[in-house]
Symmetry: C2
Subunit: 306 residues, 2 copies
């Protein structure tokens, strides 16, 4: 049976495209592998797939005991497929911290502290002297633009920029022009329900005894979200009640101005004031210069809770 | 402050030499790094260091809060430096399963399912186009010979063999001739106390609710150990009482005949019969063809306990 490759739940552009791209690399390595996904394809990702004429990976519900799998763009089991602990994890390619991850056997694990999984995948093509198609180059470039918010996020490294430069040549697009259009495609919240806004790109983090849920939305107009605060607050409270989170932070990131407005709820909401040295006004605060959940939001809250 | 590089507690040849070799690579990469160790250098490792004229790494007691560190040849915190959870882990280069490992930040993590850390380090020289000195080649070759028991262990991969071939040219030694002498240097138990035999190369494994300690000794004459069974049994019982292990397995591996005799003690000792389909006779059984703790002993016991 072909090895299933997938990224995290609530997939973003890096997760979806990395599954597709690594399946291409594995195939070139002579391994039978298929790209899959654990959730719906968002509009930003769909824009990239459509632009380069690539189909979405197959949706799977979970994994079975002993299934051979490869994880991209995540490792923490609570962000992965249902029953991941029973699967046989052959490989991981990721750019996040490592936590809540374990295997019974030795495996291939490649993580690098770069802004995007695609930057590592680009190296894998080069190391193996594999040709990169226009489609795969376009998907990797899209992932880098998405994860680095067009190179503005503090998670951006020189390696991401160098990879993007090499890839734009093959993909035949101007990253600034194409990138803004792609980000905008994912930045409209008008057609989205309050429930989908607080769940679409949400991740759970175990921080000591506390469970924190951090959701992020990229927008070009923050008021589009803040005008709907009552229904969004209600949707968050429902999540907190159902799942028992100690803290729920909705990070509304303005991708044009490179800052974020947060809505913080739950019994530990006050920790956000300490974490970012701000005052919450009706559960809301502006975080100047904050755009990265991984590099800014998670470490600051972890530290404040510690 | 220079980054501290170290392998696991109760260091073996791969752990000691990998710290030295990775410090050489880091230095070539322009990073300030120093090889360290968490325990005494054994006679096999000393033979290799002496043969290639390289000094032992500096002994450290533990790590401090916020220290920058790099782990080689291990990742599980219980096998690492005291207070490792408080250090800032920048990098890991390893060939074991991943468990009981977590970080707060993204890091460089490179694990491959090969027989020896040195095989991965050899690739790192090649990828970076760094020259390999006779000393570093000799240490890497020694590590591969040690971890694969001269290519006889089932952990041996084609990549280990290819790396060893390339390294023997640079090191200027015949691996069969040099290897047997090196393994023999580490295989004499006559000068060792019973306590040191059961602790020198011992690792703890959390297997569900059970804690298993597995110690391994390489010998050329099994009776050298079995003749001292009463005092060895006493030393193991003392370990079990002090540390609260549910199971203690001493694996006495005959490196010339490629099999192992085990002494199994503790409340869960019976699980060894099930794990290897053998009968314990006065706590002892011969395991035909078993030479690898990682690939044979740990997975079989984990499965039997599961």
């Amino acid at each position: 049976m072909a090895v299933k490759i997938f990224g995290h739940q609530n997939p973003d552009t890096d997760t979806i495209t990395s599954a597709i791209v690594l399946a291409d690399i594995e195939t070139k390595l002579g391994n039978e592998a298929v790209a899959t996904r654990l959730g719906e394809v968002g509009p930003e990702t769909q824009y990239a797939l459509d632009h380069f004429g690539v189909g979405a990976p197959e949706l799977i519900e979970g994994v079975g005991e002993g299934d051979d799998v490869i994880l991209v763009d995540h490792n923490e089991f609570q962000q992965s497929a249902k029953d991941i602990g029973q699967a046989n994890i052959l490989k991981v390619v990721d750019h996040h911290r490592i936590a809540n991850f374990q295997t019974e056997s030795p495996l291939y694990y490649r993580a690098e502290p770069v802004g995007c999984t695609a930057t590592i995948l680009h190296k894998m093509y080069k190391e193996n002297d594999f040709e990169i198609s226009r489609e795969m180059a376009g998907l990797m470039l899209s992932a880098i633009i998405s994860d680095t918010l067009l190179f503005k996020s503090p998670t951006t490294t020189d390696e991401d920029i160098a990879a993007a430069r090499a890839l734009q040549e093959i993909a035949g697009v101007d990253p600034d022009e194409y990138g803004i259009e792609m980000l905008k495609a994912g930045a409209s919240t008008k057609d989205k329900s309050a429930e989908s806004l607080v769940t679409a790109d949400a991740k759970t983090f175990d921080m000591g005894p506390k469970t924190t849920r951090i959701a992020q939305i990229n927008v070009v107009d923050v008021d589009e979200v803040l005008d709907r605060k009552p229904e969004i607050t209600e949707a968050i409270h429902k999540e907190i009640e159902t799942e028992g989170y100690d803290l729920f932070v909705l990070v509304v990131t303005n991708i044009l101005e490179s800052n974020s407005t947060v809505i913080a709820l739950g019994s530990d909401a006050g920790i956000v004031e300490q974490a970012f040295d701000v005052s919450l006004d009706e559960d809301t605060a502006l975080l100047e210069g904050v755009v990265s959940r991984k590099k800014q939001v998670v470490p600051n809250i972890t530290k404040a809770l510690g």
